[in-house]
Symmetry: C2
Subunit: 280 residues, 2 copies
């Protein structure tokens, strides 16, 4: 199992990436990590299962997500994505600019069949020990109704593949359950999800206090990001989740927080090695 890591992504890169990779390879014997970034900053690998690939440029949080792909052709993100695309790695982790990760994934890997826009999938630890899948956790802040409906289906595919839920219950996040509630976006997506068929059950609108009553929560990337970060802010056990899967591209990409520490990056790498064999 080979995981490629954009080693220049996190807010304090490359220290958390270096320490996280070391932690990850020590925890799992069959794991190899490829760190992509400036070879001087990265230094010599501290473990035989870690390899360094040089890239001379860095994507920053202020770079335009799509434009930076061409503007910085030798960025650690783009080089890492190309290693994933050509089969030199089985999964990718980046704690960098999430919009740029999304754009690079779409440009290099391509979208999965039937997917208009990939979504970030977060697995929320529920009080009963289950994981509740939330999509989109931040990739698309202004989706169209068809995209919002697809996020539910991507989330359901994830719940089936990762948690063995045969027929996931999918809820659409809203500000109330009554017909007049929601926005134009949620009302149109509600209609689409009600007509959709597949290996999931659409249960309709759910509210913020009902997140853990379903298997999959569908929402736009703005609301989803705010909800996930709100939970992280108040629940101690959320800090170590590590990363979220970018679902809807052809190969596994894990997006970690910019403020990730070594533990969070080690967890994200472990998550990538688990996600790698899954077809979503």
């Amino acid at each position: 199992m080979r995981v490629v890591v954009d080693a220049m992504g996190s807010d304090r890169a490359p220290e958390p990436e270096l320490a996280g990779a070391l932690r990850a390879v020590r925890a799992r014997a069959d794991l190899e990590v490829i760190l992509v970034g400036d070879r001087v900053s990265l230094g010599a690998p501290e473990h035989p299962a870690i390899r360094v690939v040089h890239a001379s440029q860095v994507v920053t949080m202020t770079d335009h997500p799509a434009a930076v792909f061409r503007a910085k052709p030798d960025s650690s993100l783009r080089v890492a994505m190309q290693l994933l695309a050509c089969g030199d790695a089985d999964a990718l982790v980046s704690a960098g600019n999430s919009g740029a990760v999304l754009a690079a994934a779409v440009f290099v890997l391509g979208r999965a069949p039937g997917v208009d826009r990939p979504a970030i999938v977060a697995a929320l630890p529920a009080p009963d020990g289950r994981r509740v899948v939330l999509a989109d956790a931040g990739a698309n802040v202004d989706p169209r109704p068809a995209m919002l409906a697809q996020f539910g289906m991507l989330g359901a595919a994830y719940a089936r593949a990762c948690y063995g839920v045969a027929r996931p219950r999918v809820g659409l996040l809203s500000n109330g359950a009554e017909p007049g509630k929601g926005t134009e976006l949620t009302r149109a997506a509600h209609t689409l999800l009600g007509q959709a068929t597949g290996a999931f059950e659409y249960v309709g609108y759910i509210e913020g206090h009902e997140l853990f009553t379903v298997d999959v929560v569908t929402t736009d990337g703005f609301t989803g990001n705010v909800v996930v970060k709100t939970l992280e802010g108040v629940l101690a056990d959320y800090a170590s989740i590590g990363g979220a899967l970018l679902a809807g591209v052809t190969r596994p990409v894990i997006i970690a927080h910019g403020r990730s520490d070594a533990l969070a990056l080690a967890n994200a790498i472990a998550m990538a090695s688990t996600a790698a064999p899954l077809a979503l």
Copy 2:
């Protein structure tokens, strides 16, 4: 201090309203409660400080918020709002259809000067014991940028009046702090708040895990409602908050949850009696 209660509002009305009113008047000697609703369902008052005013119609959760105002002229909500408007009460509480409460408040009471749309203001208990003011918590799901900016100013007025914060720090809720983050709506509101002057300090974008770093959180009513209910779902002490102030109308209106129990309604009535003397 006289608080008028729409006694037919909550999901299990009028039992929680009756029990909540009794609890509230027993806890505070100078409080009078006027219960508005069907006189047969309400029965004879159980306490000398409780009075019943009859109204023959009930607003339901499926009624159109604005249309129901004319369609049901003798609704408990409208009769209660008129008692507030004409000075028979100092503040109002309803656990009914929040859109209908907003519409009735605007029609009967009118908007405060300079306010385009009233907002629901929630006071979130912070880990350090402070209250963080969030606006809008659900009244306007698709606001324009100027409204979103005003919600911050309404929240700041509330933080000054209720919590004595001389110069509240106002943050705009977003999915990231970088310039490219947010939606068209938040980016336009960010510009407006950056130019605004007044007795508050605009600190820019904040994320979900940073809610408790500011005094006031500004957001649209869809996101705000989801955030408040998400916190209620995971934090035990949130259930008893009771109600949220509808800020931006000329008299104090408290909106309680539809699923309020007697304790929550008693707390909402207590909150109304506190809010009554404030000019927001």
